[in-house]
């Protein structure tokens, strides 16, 4: 199934947010009524270091068009060091995705604190715009998963 650029393309986007900073930042964006497209669906994890690269690959395999991971700012991790591990893991994963030809903009890491509702909303708006411009993820989607 191919989608041409003219049809309205609504990307599927998965956002992993750590419970302490980014999920709370998303809550603040919500209570401040800072809009971003409904294409973004958030999964709550205790810490960004809980995000297994496998989760991201699975999302792409299942047809996600973009995956973003948000955590506490470096140095501010609720568990002291979790986001440092997450950062290294994602750097490795992203370079592998790059190697196998997945466009760079389909994945993103952003640090959003509990007080940064505005940043959360801005980040999601930017990310959705980016994924929309990249179009459908055809490289990694496993069509057998659609059944």
């Amino acid at each position: 199934m191919s989608i041409t650029a003219n049809e309205e393309f609504r990307p599927k986007i998965v956002a992993f947010c750590c419970n302490w900073c980014s999920y709370a930042g998303a809550d603040l964006a919500g209570s401040s009524r800072l809009t971003y497209p409904a294409d973004v669906k958030i999964i709550r994890v205790p810490c960004s270091c809980r995000v297994n690269p496998m989760f991201i690959l699975r999302a792409f395999e299942k047809g996600a068009d973009g995956v973003i991971m948000c955590g506490c700012h470096p140095g501010d991790c609720h568990y002291s060091t979790g986001n440092y591990y997450a950062r290294r893991r994602m750097a490795l994963l992203f370079s592998m995705l790059d190697y196998i030809g997945v466009e760079h903009g389909r994945t993103r890491v952003e640090w959003v604190s509990a007080a940064e509702g505005v940043k959360f909303s801005q980040t999601m708006n930017e990310f959705v715009a980016k994924i929309t411009s990249l179009g459908k993820n055809v490289r990694l989607e496993d069509l057998r998963c659609r059944k």
């Binding site: 999964i43 809980r50 979790g82």
Partner: protein, 662 residues
């Protein structure tokens, strides 16, 4: 297979106005495992909770999904309700269809579709949930208060009065904080020292309070109820047990060129010093940077004149390790640096001062003995200009975006005091807005204008230019009369923005307490939990949480104390059962999980493993549930997939991913 009940909340119109709640119910019914779905106006109400309980009983539910507000808001509420009805609380999951959906989307169709997907993800997760049981941990009945200003003192007194031991750690040589630097306090014009020093004395005399001055928190480990803290007691070079506080050493000290921190650098102090006369403890410290003995090895005069033999040049920093159940942060504030505000000529002229410097000038114990005079030539001023919002409410990145809150009131106070004591001094205040909410605050400001004839001009000052004759030329604008203003002043006072004390950054990192972009500590909930940090066991007192005046600080200090007491009064705490768990059959004992664990919760044991009939001794990882905080670092590190996190297992998260991408 689970038997899941789905409960969709309208939240009045908060959710129902943008999400077709009935549709969510209808769609949820189609999901595997769902045997019951209903909606209700307010799920969190007693009636709503009763509906959940009734469904658990009637439909024999094994799992519950509540589609409502953020789990950070009501997860605990619904889990408690389920537990009361006999369901394991960890069989409840929340789909956040308010903060993450109805509040941010406008289109009903889109929002409904998203709500359905979020519900689906939660249902998919609950299908894989397993009952979890919380463990218990003990509570050390002792509190640590970081910061010895009015916030820290009040918190410590309140906790101590409830019968618990409290330690105060203060980085400067004396407790007292910013309040001890103030001359008078609004809106009653009480003398600051007169109301503060009795509290300082009370704290130091209290049998339950132990004060570490000239000390800093160096390391924090542990968690709520059981923190272990290293405190660095800096070398004072004076034996606190021997010193009588006579002050002779300070008089005789030949090195008197160190800028006085207490007087904001407006005058100098000796190298051996107490910050101010009422300092507690009244024991001086030697500033080794300025001490001749430490710089050259010669001098030693203080040792000679000290009759008590208290001077000890060999003293070294000491590390004290203590256990605490609760930690209160009361690190306070400082004024911002003015190097980005050259237009006010602060660095060029001694007669341009900050409001805190004016406090010291007005104070009888200050650098001018309380006489209002220009610091450049010692002459009394005739015209004074106050400039408001210097660095506050700033739209560019030079200053702070927030209102510092206290400046309008203290400027009215300064203006009033000056007009009262020196009626021939003309006082002009340039302001953007005058903000005086608070009991008797606006009346106070109006007195300054109406009774004391202070000239308030709505408008900002663009430039302060020092003139060759020593005058300051103030160029401003009057927005009401819409005209440019040029006036000469003898002194200009800048209402400088306040910011959290820079030390808070390091402390927040040690406590893993979250902090906002302005370095104010974040509260667990902006409205409902304003004195608690999201990090359990850490409480917030005073300006470290946001700008506030003395009455508000004292009120918050008391509130933080109550929260800490509530924690200390418990003998045991329930621990988070969402901890890591290792599958012994899969574990190959590689040690990678222990390497990434920040809590040292993973150890290795040699166990007899029965691997599909093959019995052998293997070295396997064992998680200590009392120490594990459930971050999940080990689960991703584990190369063999043996480590998993209960409550956020690989399968659960993958099920959520699948449900979202379906």
């Amino acid at each position: 297979m689970q038997r899941i009940g789905v409960f969709v909340c309208h939240c009045g119109s908060n959710i129902a106005a943008t999400v077709d709640v009935k549709k969510v119910v209808e769609m949820a019914r189609l999901e595997p495992g769902v045997v019951h779905a209903e909606d209700y106006q307010y799920m969190c109400s007693e009636v709503g909770q009763a509906k959940i309980a009734a469904a658990i009983h009637e439909k024999h539910l094994t799992g519950v999904v509540v589609c409502s507000c953020s789990p950070r808001m009501h997860e605990a509420t619904f889990r408690k309700a389920a537990e009361k009805a006999g369901l394991n609380p960890y069989m409840v999951e929340i789909a956040n269809i308010r903060e993450h959906c109805s509040w941010i989307h406008k289109n009903i169709e889109e929002a409904t579709e998203k709500a359905v997907i979020l519900a689906r993800a939660a249902i998919a997760k609950v299908n894989l949930n397993a009952p979890l049981k919380a463990g218990e941990s003990r509570v050390t009945k002792r509190a640590l208060v970081i910061g010895g200003g009015i916030a820290g003192i009040q918190t410590a007194l309140d906790i101590a009065d409830a019968g618990y031991e409290v330690d105060i750690v203060e980085k400067t040589p004396s407790i007292g904080g910013r309040m001890s630097q103030l001359d008078k306090t609004f809106p009653t014009l009480d003398c600051s020292a007169c109301i503060l020093t009795p509290k300082m004395v009370e704290a130091s005399a209290h049998e339950k309070i132990n004060i570490y001055t000239y000390s800093e928190v160096e390391k924090v480990t542990g968690f709520v109820g059981d923190f272990t803290v290293d405190i660095r007691k800096k070398a004072r070079s004076v034996d606190m047990t021997k010193c009588t506080g006579c002050g002779v050493c300070q008089e005789k000290c030949p090195s008197k060129k160190a800028p006085s921190e207490f007087n904001r650098g407006l005058n100098n102090r000796s190298a051996i010093y107490t910050p101010f006369a009422q300092a507690i403890p009244n024991v001086p410290v030697i500033d080794r940077e300025h001490c001749i003995k430490f710089k050259t090895g010669k001098c030693g005069l203080c040792e000679k004149v000290c009759q008590a033999g208290a001077i000890d040049y060999t003293q070294k920093d000491e590390i004290i390790t203590e256990k605490y159940g609760a930690i209160v942060v009361a690190t306070g504030f400082d004024t911002i640096k003015l190097d980005k505000y050259d237009e006010y000529a602060y660095s060029q002229s001694k007669d341009v001062i900050t409001s805190l410097e004016l406090e010291r000038i007005m104070n009888a114990a200050g650098p001018t003995k309380g006489h209002l005079e220009r610091l450049s030539d010692g002459k009394p001023p005739k015209n004074m200009v106050f400039i408001q919002c210097v660095g506050s409410r700033c739209s560019d990145n030079r200053g702070k975006s927030y209102c510092s809150k206290i400046c309008c009131m203290y400027t009215a106070k300064h203006a009033m005091l000056i007009r009262d004591k020196y009626p021939d001094v003309n006082v002009t205040v340039f302001y953007i807005d005058v903000r005086t909410p608070g009991k008797n605050f606006d009346e106070f400001y109006r007195r300054a204008v109406e009774d004391y004839g202070v000239n308030y001009i709505k408008g900002q000052v663009g430039k302060v230019a020092p003139q060759p004759n020593g005058q300051l030329l103030v160029q401003g604008v009057d927005l009401i009369d819409n005209k440019q203003i040029l006036m000469e002043a003898d002194m200009v006072v800048l209402a400088t923005a306040i910011e959290p004390d820079p030390s808070v950054r390091k402390i927040a990192t040690m406590l893993t307490a979250s902090i906002d972009t302005n370095n104010f500590l974040t509260e667990a909930h902006a409205k409902l939990r304003p004195v608690e940090s999201p990090t359990a066991g850490v409480f917030l007192s005073g300006v470290c949480q946001g700008p506030k005046d003395i009455p508000e600080t004292v009120a918050q200090a008391g509130a933080a104390a109550v929260k800490a007491i509530g924690l200390l009064a418990k003998d045991k705490l329930m621990t988070n059962p969402c901890t890591a768990k290792s599958d012994e059959l899969l574990c190959n004992g590689c040690s990678q999980c222990a390497n990434v664990c920040p809590y040292g919760a993973i150890s290795y044991e040699t166990k007899l493993i029965n691997d599909h009939g093959i019995r052998e001794e293997r070295r396997v990882a064992v998680v200590n549930n009392a120490l594990c905080q459930g971050c999940g670092a080990c689960t991703v590190t584990c190369p063999s997939g043996a480590m998993d996190l209960q409550g956020f297992s690989n399968r659960q998260i993958l099920a959520e991913v699948d449900a979202i991408c379906r």
